[in-house]
Symmetry: C2
Subunit: 290 residues, 2 copies
């Protein structure tokens, strides 16, 4: 791809809105690759911002949202997605002309459309989603190479500014992520399936066993531990993701329940061969996931 910018990706001032695992890791990566000048961090928790500054993840902290964004060239939304629209409404009047606003949220669809509509003249929005989260949230787990080799989905629309998209594509590539472009709606269908549904399932599975007899959990082996690792993910983050993408998730939950009911029927009727066939199908499919 020719960026039309002589491949020069540089932002004088970057603002990270929400300095958690992803926001902090992105800040570290931008610094390491010398893709920016000054990084300001904004967030709800002053202690966390002070810690981020002490760890040299950000260069300065700002508790005033408007001030944090006013003279920035790149504003990264990396707080739970439920806060995006309100935050965008608050900052839109004071953004610098030519600024790019992007995000790292796990849901895109309506959020991208709304964010786009909120951007003032001369400011562009590019939706992004790096596939690099963890159930271990917070800046203590942040690292500059979190995105190295990871996939990053960018979700431009027909309204997305071409140069801004190239800049954001270049940014992720420079920090060694592999960029995939898809529409916000396609993104939400795909990630409802491979991420949001599995999270709901993991949360529900842990709660099921906890309700029946939490003492059973001490007998869990590696299978249970792996299957439910993501049930330790941030409730706040995942609440927002699930609510925002609920239509896709609810549809998938019904498909999933149909699959469970089919297996339950086979079990009830002792249909050994049918069960083995379903398990075999899943095994083959799973073995193709790299």
């Amino acid at each position: 791809m020719n960026y039309g910018l002589k491949n020069r990706i540089f932002f004088n001032k970057v603002t990270i809105l929400g300095v958690g695992l992803i926001g902090a890791s992105l800040a570290l990566a931008l610094k390491k690759k010398k893709l920016c000048g000054h990084i300001t961090g904004y967030g709800r928790t002053e202690d966390n911002l002070r810690k981020a500054k002490k760890k040299k993840i950000i260069d300065s902290l700002e508790l005033d949202l408007i001030k944090a964004c006013a003279d920035s060239d790149l504003i990264v939304f990396s707080s739970p997605v439920g806060s995006f629209i309100n935050t965008a409404k608050k900052i839109k009047g004071s953004l610098k002309k030519g600024a790019i606003v992007t995000d790292v949220g796990s849901v895109k669809g309506t959020i991208v459309r709304e964010m786009e509509a909120l951007m003032p003249e001369g400011v562009s929005f590019v939706g992004g989603h790096p596939i690099a989260g963890s159930e271990k949230a917070g800046i203590d787990k942040a690292k500059a190479n979190l995105f190295s080799g990871a996939r990053c989905i960018l979700t431009p629309t027909e309204r997305t500014d071409k140069i801004s998209l190239r800049m954001i594509t270049g940014l992720w590539r420079k920090i060694s992520a592999s960029v995939t472009i898809m529409s916000p709606e396609e993104h939400d269908r795909v990630y409802a399936a491979v991420s949001h549904l599995p999270h709901i399932i993991a949360y529900a599975l842990v709660n099921t066993i906890t309700d029946i007899n939490s003492a059973y959990l001490k007998f869990a082996g590696q299978g249970f531990k792996d299957t439910t690792r993501i049930a330790a993910s941030s409730p706040e983050l995942w609440r927002d993701i699930c609510i925002t993408n609920r239509e896709n998730i609810l549809w998938l939950l019904n498909r999933f329940k149909e699959n469970l009911d089919e297996l339950a029927g086979y079990l009830q009727r002792g249909e050994t061969k049918a069960i083995e066939k379903k398990f075999k199908k899943a095994k083959e499919s799973r073995e193709n996931v790299r």
Copy 2:
């Protein structure tokens, strides 16, 4: 525990019925700890047995089931549980007096009761289940220390011979497993919850996405991979486990579906706080699983 045997655990001849990951690893562990003389392997696939002999996992192979067991001091059932009863019926007439029969199956309940009833006078059965499986079956993954630090559940009944139980307890302890005693029925309730249900869920989840659009799977991140790792487990092994423990599993599947329906209801009605509360409960519970 005083074994009443001066802690001497030794079996002149051991027969492994089914030389897969668990059977082969147990053979390697017994040899390493010098707990046995000769090990014979029996199985359906001659090639696999030859490979096991070549790798010195077993000392000899036997394609005749009766001959494989006739003069053995310890017979270990390590094939899929669905084959246990038929195999026991075939060998029971030719077992050596004083022999101990044990197993490594993931289901105990009715199987233990039936196996017990099939044992001839002077031969005792002790049900066992080492928690050390993997989705990677077969002898290539076998290793002598597979059970080191692992839990092994033994499921004696009121009919179990005390000395035999001590011998089998001693055997697992000598190969560094941590032994837990529970009834066969309690075992099946616990493992339906922490192992069998998660397997069914993982299989169903992979099939759900495969049915909708298998191309979505290439976008899967680590969360999906971990959640569905066990969907690559042996269809034959898990078919048998699920069929055998189906009553517990079906009951749990209904509890799980109630949990899913509750979450779906919250999503539908946009009950943000209720969702966060459920996710938080799961997170706290999951974080206590070590």
